[in-house]
Amino acid sequence: MARIGVFICHCGENIAATVDCPKSAAALAEHPGVVVSMDYKYMCSDPGQEMIRKAIREHKLTGVVVAACSPRMHETTFRRACAEAGLNPYLCEIANVREQCSWVHSDREKATQKAIEIIRSMVEKVKRNSELQPIHVPVTRRALVIGGGIAGIQTALDIANAGQEVVLVERDLSLGGHMAQLSETFPTLDCSQCILTPRMVEAAQNPKIKLLTYAEVESVSGFIGNFKVKVRLKSRYVDIKKCTGCGACWTKCPARKIPSEFDCGLGNRTAIYTPFPQAVPNKPAIDRNNCIYFQKGKCGACAKICPTQAIDYQMKDEFVELDVGAIVVATGFQVQDTDVYGEYGYGKYPDVITGLQFERMASASGPTGGKILRPSDGKEPQTVVFIQCVGSRDPSKGLRYCSKICCMYTAKHTMLYRHKVHHGESYVFYMDIRAAGKGYDEFTRRAIEEDHACYVRGRVSKIYPQDGKLIVRGVDTLLGKPMEIAADMVVLATAAVAQADAKSFAQIVGIGYDENGFLNEAHPKLRPVETATAGVFLAGACQAPKDIPDSVAQGSAAASKVLALFSKDELEREPVIAKVNEITCAGCWACYLACPFKAIEKKEIRDRAGKLIKRVAYVNPGLCQGCGTCVALCRSNSIDLEGFTEKQIFAEVMGL
């Protein structure tokens, strides 16, 4: 026989103002199965919880209904109180009489009637609740970090420094990401390489970090604490165990006119190459599509010169399987194609370049050795026009969002330019200056006041060449006048966009993405690091455009989430999962096909002789998330969802 306790909270005046709590308690006391029914000013307070605990012990309650705020608010609190009094926490249910009753109605009589019905319905449900035990899932204490940019490096270092193992996967030849391409960084103007490369080396040398460069994640299966990841190690055609990184091969390589991706096409590289001299690991790879040996069948210069016989033209892609407990996605961003702005003539006029190309030019290790030179004739530009919001905040070009970093890096570019070309004039066409951040506004003011950048609020409509110059035609909207500037070079602050393959990658990992291809966090404010998939976290610009401090901060945040997960041997999960009745299951596999989490497995039932009797569905408790889609689909009613069983729901409906 059920012995249910009903506890109705006044929530100060929040509930009591519109719901007659003593009357509701009296009404529920009459309900069959209810042995104790009381109301109190603040049920969630310590005396309130003590009332519940005392009643459980005194009346030997078999179920508790707390009529209070939303279960999303205090379900955990009250369940814990029940557990403390020795009642299984899953025998406690919350009747939501605040958010969904007292706060939304003004008629006291009707609200009271509604509250009574809500509580009654919950009493009927709780009578059919059963004792559930939390599910324990073992945790593999090894993290996978995907992406070796600054966010990924930071995450990997933080996890490794806390003593846990990390596998860091980078699809390019070297760690570093976009930060390695930058010249100096705002707002301090310290050199990007100087602050990044020590971190790269640290990551490579940390005994807890296993570094897989030139590798891509092929597939991810499993669940929190127990992921299985398949990684493709792309063939470099160079055995990195033998290679010493001496550089003899790339000095000998005859294919020398290949535009360097790292230098954004401003410089050239060889077919066997490392992307930049400070690469980690500093081991080359052969670019098959441009290698004379692979294209024409003869050359082999690198193999002949290599002192350690590290070149292997027969090398194939390899695959490794990894068991990891958590995944951090730090896959970064890319710069938008400038094709959408035909009027700016990028690609047509060599002196129209992107911000990232300007970074390479300004970098001391870049193709011009840090000198600002026009790509067309190698002369120092005397007038440079910078155009902001190229792509960003322009719905007609498909991007509605702000790329966040461009205001700051354009201000930085004007300063770098002025520091290198003392008499140079710089103009910046902008829409708004967005310089929110520590020391950021001061930085843009410095560009204007000390380095004499001329900021023009307005857009550029056209760029065309005339007498060796680029005529930039725009409008100054503050003066309300059209403007024409004869520039030597134009720098476009192109939008930061999601990686081209972000969507297919998100599907591999099983996480969401937004309309722009940026990966989705679980909650934009309160869970910015987690994804909707438990055990998968985000760091850096794969989530949205971010600057370096933000990426690093999120990298550390992701690491702390991973470490919290690794702090226990086992994970405890809510036991709200599906359960199969193996006697009635006919193995039609409707559930197997419908399950969004691939949690349904085909289980064989054999007799003592080992003869197969039948195959039935089995729910993997580690994978099941408890949505109940399989339950509603099951034709023979052979699956039920713990905590929301058919019996419970029917009782709830009948209690109304």
Partner: protein, 149 residues
């Protein structure tokens, strides 16, 4: 009838979107008709047609099924299962003589407290116009007292 008919509406909602949306309507102190009773489920994919029948049997005059917007389901695609099932079941109800105007479907996200309040108000008015749902009770009465030959 001297008193105005007050319809009884039973809403089957998912906990991640519509239930949270209803909570938001509460925290925003929006006022709506007190005619709705909520049944909280993990996902709309959990909603079996039998629940709707049970609710009608219990005396509901209107049924609402509501969950996350397409693409927003916490369980990736439970709401698509719900929609498909609901579409078929609704026409089946219509076929057996239960007006399909009594069974509603909506997408209400956790951020749409307003939409929740509006939906409930609109639905209460529409169902009020339809009048009480009596067919089920009549059927039960007829079965208990067979028609005279």
């Amino acid at each position: 009838m001297s008193e105005e008919f007050e319809p009884k509406i039973i809403a089957f909602v998912c906990t991640y979107c519509t239930y949270a949306g209803a909570d938001l309507a509460g925290t925003s102190r929006l006022k709506y008709a007190p005619n709705v009773r909520m049944i909280r489920l993990p996902c709309t994919g959990r909603i079996s047609p039998m629940f709707i029948l049970k609710a009608l049997q219990k005396g509901a005059d209107g049924i609402l099924v509501s969950g996350c917007h397409p693409g927003d389901c916490h369980f990736t695609h439970g709401n698509f299962h719900a929609r498909r099932r609901w579409t078929v079941f609704r026409s089946l109800l219509n076929f057996v003589g239960i007006p399909q105007e009594r069974v509603w479907f909506s997408w209400i996200s956790a951020a749409e407290g307003n939409k929740f309040a509006e939906t409930i108000n609109k639905m209460t008015e529409e169902i009020r116009k339809l009048g009480p749902f009596k067919q089920y009770q009549q059927l039960i009465e007829e079965m208990e007292t067979p028609a005279k030959v």
